[in-house]
Symmetry: C2
Subunit: 799 residues, 2 copies
Amino acid sequence: MNTEVSMSIDIEGLNAWWRAANYLSVGQIYLRDNALLTRPLASEDVKERLLGHWGTTPGLNFVYAHLNRVISQRQQEMLFVTGPGHGGPANVANAWLEGTYSEIYGNIGSDASGMNALFKQFSYPGGIPSHAAPETPGSIHEGGELGYSLAHAYGAVFDNPTLIAATVVGDGEAETGPLATSWLSSSFVDPAVDGAVLPILHLNGYKIANPTVLARMPEDQLRQLMYGYGYDPRFVTVTDPADTAAAHQDFADVLDGCIDDIHAIQDRARTSPAQAGDPAPRWPMIVLRSPKGWTGPAEVDGKPVEGTWRSHQVPLSEIHTDEQHLHQLEEWMRSYDPGTLFTENGELRPEIAALAPEGSLRMSATPYANGGWLLKDLVLPSYTEHAVAVSAPGTEKVSPMITVGGYLRDVIDLNPHTFRLFGPDETASNRLSAVYEVTDKAWQPRIEDVDEHLARSGRVMEVLSEHLCQGWLEGYLLTGRHGVFNCYEAFVHIVDSMFNQFAKWLKVHRVLSWRRPIASFNYMLSSHVWQQDHNGFSHQDPGFMDHVVNKTADITRVYLPPDANTMLAVTEHCMQTRDTVNVIVTGKQPTPTWFGPEEAQLHVRRGIGILDFAGTEEPGVEPDVVLGCAGDVPTLEAVAAARLLSAGVPGLKIRVVNVVDLMRLQDETEHPHGLSSRDFDTLFTTSKPVIFAFHGYPALIHRLTYRRNNHANLHVRGYKEEGTTTTPFDMAMLNQIDRFQLAMDVIDRVPTLGASQGRLRQDLQDQRERAWQYTRDAGKDLEAITGWTLDESSPDDAQ
Amino acid sequence: MNTEVSMSIDIEGLNAWWRAANYLSVGQIYLRDNALLTRPLASEDVKERLLGHWGTTPGLNFVYAHLNRVISQRQQEMLFVTGPGHGGPANVANAWLEGTYSEIYGNIGSDASGMNALFKQFSYPGGIPSHAAPETPGSIHEGGELGYSLAHAYGAVFDNPTLIAATVVGDGEAETGPLATSWLSSSFVDPAVDGAVLPILHLNGYKIANPTVLARMPEDQLRQLMYGYGYDPRFVTVTDPADTAAAHQDFADVLDGCIDDIHAIQDRARTSPAQAGDPAPRWPMIVLRSPKGWTGPAEVDGKPVEGTWRSHQVPLSEIHTDEQHLHQLEEWMRSYDPGTLFTENGELRPEIAALAPEGSLRMSATPYANGGWLLKDLVLPSYTEHAVAVSAPGTEKVSPMITVGGYLRDVIDLNPHTFRLFGPDETASNRLSAVYEVTDKAWQPRIEDVDEHLARSGRVMEVLSEHLCQGWLEGYLLTGRHGVFNCYEAFVHIVDSMFNQFAKWLKVHRVLSWRRPIASFNYMLSSHVWQQDHNGFSHQDPGFMDHVVNKTADITRVYLPPDANTMLAVTEHCMQTRDTVNVIVTGKQPTPTWFGPEEAQLHVRRGIGILDFAGTEEPGVEPDVVLGCAGDVPTLEAVAAARLLSAGVPGLKIRVVNVVDLMRLQDETEHPHGLSSRDFDTLFTTSKPVIFAFHGYPALIHRLTYRRNNHANLHVRGYKEEGTTTTPFDMAMLNQIDRFQLAMDVIDRVPTLGASQGRLRQDLQDQRERAWQYTRDAGKDLEAITGWTLDESSPDDAQ
């Protein structure tokens, strides 16, 4: 390796690149014409509305220039992650300097007119955002919402042993919770098989309108904080903004030391594996304290700007009304001496262009930032081998999560470098423990004798932070790998906002032809709302589905497999999809298996279908009532309700429809999985009552179906925030999705029952009352909901 | 003050209390009868299903006993915050020992039968959850979801100068993002006017199934981490679990030191105020390393349990099938020597009971944990003085947020100790800067000359963490004060899950008669989806409303004031509500003011109403079409559409209905603010087309109205995830809620237009095309959407 090699440092070259990037950054924020300043700057050359953030940008450009030197000298693979929110001009400027921008975007050439176009499009209607985004070459990180840079970076380096993710962390985002805990990621990165993250904490001193906590810490305190987080911090402090040569020399020296030390840690781990008692490696990181708005106007209107919060956005804002501001802008841009940077045609001068790394080593062109280039299909285990044999529908009680756990075990086994399982300390609780037959949980700190399933290079990533699980997996997927995030259903809301950003990323990513499809993000949500007996009310929330369906239909999928085999089939399907977010919700308790292996695959492929075994309809005759269901518990209750009704009302023609792919309920014009109106009407009729038992909040079903012909006859039961510490079956009763209630709902809506209606209803009411007493009583409450299978439909028979 | 007083330490008394609390904790987890072990323990005495978490509980009981000593000896006001998720048995046990439990819950007496009832209800159908919850006396903290303990504690001590919030932080939750950044809260607590938080990091070593990162850190590293977070850590390490006397002595000494040092910091700040250059005070904190499941079974079935992850939940799980387990349980419970703790009647022996603090000093009875007892109404400024005079509807363009900023300034001025404004570095960006005329941002680190509006004791709490803003305000409200959380609309999703937990807390809190009403949680969301020109796609998400309405109708309110005066009236109203969550969404840009001061109040009181000035209907005649609107931008567009139509289609009877209180759309049976069917039909007709322009995702309007008679004729326009970096008016067009589109929607649905329909539509289409070109052009784009007021309805006239 290249460790401990003395590297020459071309200060002048570094500074030229930096000046060029800064020039292009200022240009993006201000100009719509006269990019090269070939004539005196005029008000018309400047955008009408000035939007963008100068403050953080020169620091980013500074770091980028230095990383380029390291990449070129060492042929080091690097990924650049821009944490500071509005550092977009820096990424774009450097991508243009490296030639990548023009290679990707034909309308932005590498000459003067290209530069004009580059400037004009920034923060402009129809143009590009002011932060790093999918449109930004070399980025896997949306800079709009803060706090996820380090988590993305760590996700990117897992299983990429030669990669270093240089990650600039803004001191603003450092105050967010997700970032604050992301530092702990170093306890999960294995120097033997993973790459490295080099965090560069960039202390500009200010966020939008306030100083930052980390920047105002005494240096000794900040040093201890970083040491405490597990790093070996090195400080580069720019004390004299004008002495750029000293700043370059300092940073270059420190950077070389970091790269050397990273390689030393990796070499050590790769030649002599860590012992159980060893502590986690202490990785280098850099604290760069540089003035906010460095090289920008020192003062504006007599007030200090460089080095203060006043340079956060646009330091000179009155260009169109204040001659002095216009003049000062021109002076500022000319201070970079553009004539020495660009040719008369606006091309980067060849001696500066030569400083860029070559080809895919350019951080703006690295395939790691366009993971689809690196993506390989997963080798999938045999579905058939994992599927549960079914003697008759509902006979075998099997946990869907345990079943899929065995499948995931084999996925891990078959794909030892390209698949990981993520979870917030809930993988065992969610019943996926089979994976520990072939792998362990990744853990770099000391390992003790009492520990089980911990190893330096485990494929299961467990940390008590949903934010980290989400961020790591996003980074892992965006760099071309596969994964699953298993989580308690209620607490996945912790990452609602991260999901939003990722969904928005995917939507844009999909329409950029140069970005290659990536593996889908798979949520596997269990320990769900209906199985929270001892955890109670705080653990009950099925609303993540509602949240997800607000996002673009092209990328959102929601599956509610009702049993083990459908769960397996859904998982097999999701593992092969690209560029979507798949939300899978199912239970971990044993539940009746309704579908045989082949039926399950067929049902999942259809996404919706009639449960023939449960209904009582006659061929060719429209049923009297439809019982719809989606989710494992609702399906059990609907099937049981149908059974109660068939016993109580002979001749009643009941159809039971199960929905496994929730998006089938939407119209085909609204979602790619949507059913045509005709197919929907065929299943649900256009005039018969539909009683629908739903896993989540009832409103979601109405929302998905309000355009349907038979919507007026649709009556949905679901979770309505009732129940706390109680048994699963009591939960069903409190929220009125239990079999008795569903059967009563049918009776209330079928007009043909005549005189027997009252008696039937009373009978069901009585049964319900008995069941309530039973489940509230001491024993066997856990089994109640699964015990009442088809053959045990009265509480007295329950196991 | 009580500083530096030497305090006697009654080790035996401490240990007796601890044993009693431990006994009651084990009893809760296991027993349903035979609480006092008056007969040999039998299988029937033990609950059928064993649920609960022993691991963290003895440590919590240990800390609680010690805090009681300090409270009694110093008459120190204390609040106990239980971070570890499933520490519920500890809180309940101590509340029962202090007598509070029986005072509050008449069915749980302070004798043997009460103890039996106490045991049985725990984690039992119809009983209490296994973590601290609203039902738990003395708690302001839901233990179900992890990570918010420190934020709640800091919120509780703001403006409570004599209070110490002793906060046990679990080492599991310490891995969460929100907790990781909560440590930084000490940079915002003012020792002169606030109380103090005493964090007790409780290192049990394990979460559910894994060791914790903090527990496996070398001690030197953990010390540096805590120092880095700004604290002065003191370590208490229980090396010999059997030597409880040493453990008590160590902890008592350290605790006394902490209390002394807290008082010293406060005394110093209260006698000689900090200077600008001073660093933030360094507060004491404790790291308590004690065995998980301390005093529980050392081994079970030959495997180590005490001190390992095996004691996380129920260390003896086979009670009903394994005689040895049953025997070991009895032995374990008898090891606490219950005969020395309780009388034969099951009452706590008086000498132990005497160790509890008295009356409201008991942490289980402190009014701080039942904030409604302390709540005082806000003194509110004059609405009329802040309201904007309106010469004619839509003439005055005013920013709703700037207007309410002046109002909030006066609220702060009039309520100097009971109201705070929280925000993630966005208060100025959201245009509330008027508050800085009377106060500053609280900031304890060094203050520099260039800083503006920073002070040790500011009333504005700004930190770049939505989690901290939410957690602090929750803590502030739950202890009886008032506040507002202002936030960018898109990023409030960061706290979706915290909102869930708080909403669930409120729902339970409302039905507990002993819990007094608290001030409502007020969200003020701005910089919203329609005003994200330079921030683009990542900043566009109006879905928080959707999320909120999933929670119980009793507590959720959503307001979309369309102008400055309605914003003011909504705010005035929300400030006076109790026990609800009020979500207010409005813009920060100048927007036409439609309502005069009195009209605005009336409109807000009604929540929904007809905009007479905008419509063209005739008295007593049903209109041809209804244009609905909710939100500032949609209202402007709907009014403008009505104007376009009235010009283009003379005689068309248009009604414009504005919704400011979104819950009015629901039926009165579904939400307390819901409109009756009759009133709804009166406004929206039962048969005429309704075109509805909505601020958020269109599905929400359908969801709220799907039961309404005229729902089939309702056509909603809203945000559909289109548009990125562009102008506000372009956003409206891309998502098709612009005036031209709305007018075309009307034309498409009014059947009476006859032959002129095609021409009218084409004309609107042409206008729309011109507008598009205009807004995509360089200049004046910002003003476009507000510039096209009633008198400037063509783009050529735009400002």
